[in-house]
């Protein structure tokens, strides 16, 4: 019985520590504007990772050497892109996490929503990392 009581105490201490640390960690930083420029050449990108904080306003500009669609997963923003033009996204970082930015050549004709799958020929161009503010 004594052992069991000790176990309960240990579990309780762990839980309490977690809650305290969790409460302390919730700080905030000033929301700011953050800009990214990505160039896709021959299926490769020049910016593998984009770092931002929650509540930042994020601006992403993409150029590519072939025609296609760029898709930011999670936020589910999709843009058409042509060689010589700039595709721009502007949004608030409301979701925390790691979100892939993908590019695929113009072969798919079906409709697109966040639950949909893409055909082959989709490449991950960059990853947007939105950290807790």
């Amino acid at each position: 019985m004594q052992l069991f009581v000790t176990m309960i105490k240990v579990v309780f201490i762990t839980a309490a520590m977690s809650v305290v640390l969790f409460a302390l960690a919730c700080g905030g930083s000033e929301p700011k504007n953050i800009y990214f420029n990505i160039r896709v050449t021959e299926g490769h990108s020049d910016l593998p990772e984009m770092l931002a904080n929650k509540s930042d306003t994020i601006f992403i500009k993409i150029t590519a050497d072939t025609e296609g669609k760029v898709h930011l997963h999670g936020y589910d923003i999709e843009l058409d892109i042509q060689p010589g033009t700039v595709a721009s996204m502007e949004f608030e970082g409301v979701l925390e996490g790691r979100f892939n930015l993908t590019f695929h050549g113009d072969q798919i004709g079906d409709s697109h929503d966040s639950n949909d799958g893409h055909g082959g020929n989709e490449i991950i161009v960059s990853t947007l990392v939105v950290n807790p503010g």
């Binding site: 052992l3 640390l21 969790f22 997963h73 979701l95 925390e96 996490g97 790691r98 807790p132």
Partner: protein, 515 residues
């Protein structure tokens, strides 16, 4: 050479099953988790180690006592007793379970093959494989009630009994007990391969085919050897969910060992009756049946079948749970890439499949080697009294809390986020643009769990799992060794193994998940 032909054929069959163009559909199963930051990982590891010594200290100081654990029979509450004995409730739940299996098969075969728009992948991988393991560890072994293969066979037997009264659907073969749960281990490795390596795991039609294949195998096993025997030794999910049910805060107990003598399955009765043995439960009278609440994880201490086959299966479960996470880490992706460039000339199109398959098989082997090493140390520090295999067989269960905790840390976000897909899928299970309940337009809310909460939950779960594991291992040691000194000394190597396992688990969740 022969095995690569076999593997190529198998891969070709799978590729044939894959609709062209859909090699990997990101809509289903996509993860957006942020890796746990370094500070959390270090703090968690430190806390796990520190608190372990608190637990050990308590064991050293405590008076030795052989007190059976606290239990409270829920059936003492009239309402609970009525619910348990109600046939209409039982049959309704069973009907829902059986229909769910048919629905999964039907949607898989006939529905939209996009995994995010079909019921089968979400139901099988998220609701059933992840959700049910959590639920069973948290509540109790209700798989005994909802196992669709058992239900359908039982109903089949009932109908057969109509035409041939008194006869069972059984060819009369006796299951060779020396075979233990080796068949289950075989099925589990196939399942783990299907889940972790096969490119078709998220495809609805492939899932249907696998469910059908497994149903045929399971029913064949039941016809040959008898339903309850097969469930106890050959039906892999019954065995594995049974492992996780040992963690649960409830148990089914038959408080009268006279039934156990007649039990076909050969359950392991202890002085006060047998636990979670379905055949005994069915035979027993009302007075002997108990549905007890008990402390969480205490069931891991219970003496069970100490066979090497069961040990192997527990190790396989532990190893594949960890491997599942490890294969998404950048280090593994790097190693995989290097291996690929070396082996591409030999295996060509099958290279990835070969590398992943071999590493899946390698994971339990590596685990066994490590576990054997620490068990030898355990035997040595405790005076060489107990055999190594026996030590491994009894102590393997004490590692399950760490595996379950890692499972929680790794899959909770999947359950909460991808699990939401069940809402639109309930209205449109086939992906035919139906809207049965008006929820087909529901969009998954990715922001439901914020990153910090997920980190705390994950690290706390693993640290807690670690402490529970240390405690359980000490309790097992007190049962296994005659002498308290020996018992406590034997646990230092075990602590080393657990710290290693816990730190590796924490390390995995601190890695970014790479596709």
């Amino acid at each position: 050479m022969k095995s690569s032909i076999w593997l190529s054929t198998f891969a070709a069959v799978l590729v044939w099953m894959v609709p062209s163009g859909l090699a990997y559909a990101h809509g289903f199963g996509e993860r957006y988790d942020l890796p746990v930051p370094l500070e959390y990982y270090l703090l968690g590891s430190a806390a796990a180690i520190l608190l372990s010594f608190v637990v050990i200290g308590a064991f050293v100081r405590a008076r030795p006592e052989q007190v059976p654990y606290w239990r409270w029979n829920l059936l003492d509450v009239k309402l609970a007793a009525w619910v348990i004995s109600s046939n209409s409730i039982k049959h309704t739940i069973q009907l829902i379970s059986a229909l769910s299996m048919f629905l999964v098969i039907a949607t898989g075969m006939l529905g939209n093959q996009n995994p995010g728009m079909n019921l089968a992948p979400t139901f099988v991988w998220v609701i059933w494989w992840v959700g049910l393991v959590f639920a069973i560890a948290a509540i109790g072994n209700f798989w005994l009630l909802v196992n669709p293969w058992s239900i359908l066979f039982e109903w089949g037997e009932y109908c057969y009994g109509y035409f041939k009264p008194g006869r069972r659907v059984w060819f009369g073969y006796d299951y060779p007990r020396s075979l233990g749960v080796w068949p289950s281990l075989g099925f589990f490795m196939c399942f783990a391969w299907f889940e972790n390596v096969s490119p078709g795991a998220s495809l609805p039609s492939v899932i249907s085919a696998m469910v059908i294949a497994y149903s045929v195998i399971t029913w064949a096993g039941m016809v040959f050897f008898g339903r309850e025997i097969w469930l106890c030794y050959g039906e892999v999910f019954s065995v594995i969910f049974g492992f996780f049910a040992r963690l649960a805060p409830t148990e089914l107990r038959v408080a009268n060992t006279s039934y156990c003598g007649k039990c076909l399955v050969g359950c392991n009765p202890q002085g006060t009756g047998c636990i979670n043995c379905h055949p005994c439960w069915l035979m027993a009278d009302e007075a002997s049946r108990q549905l007890n609440m008990r402390p969480f994880a205490i069931g891991l201490i219970e003496q069970g079948d100490e066979s090497s086959s069961r040990l192997a299966l527990v190790v396989a479960v532990l190893a594949t749970v960890t491997f599942d996470g490890f294969k998404e880490t950048p280090i593994w992706v790097g190693i995989n890439g290097d291996l690929w460039s070396q082996l591409h000339r030999v295996f060509e199109d099958n290279t990835s499949l070969m590398i992943d398959t071999v590493s899946l098989l390698f994971a339990p082997v590596m685990f066994i080697v490590l576990f054997t090493f620490f068990s030898i140390l355990m035997s040595w520090t405790s005076g060489g009294q107990a055999g190594i295999i026996r030590l491994m067989a009894v102590f393997a269960y004490s590692l399950l809390p760490i595996a379950l905790a890692y499972h929680v840390a790794h899959f909770l976000t999947l359950l909460v986020i991808q699990g939401q897909l069940i809402i639109p899928l309930a209205s449109d299970p086939f992906g035919y643009d139906w809207d049965l309940f008006g929820t087909s337009g529901y969009r998954v809310n990715i922001g439901l769990i914020d990153a910090r909460f997920a980190w705390f939950l994950g690290v706390s779960a693993i640290v807690l799992g670690h402490i529970v594991a240390v405690y359980i291992a000490h309790m097992i040691a007190l049962r296994v060794f005659d002498n308290r000194q020996q018992a406590i000394r034997s646990q230092y190597p075990m602590l080393g193994l657990m710290v290693l396992y816990t730190v590796v688990s924490l390390w995995i969740i601190a890695q970014p998940m790479v596709e």
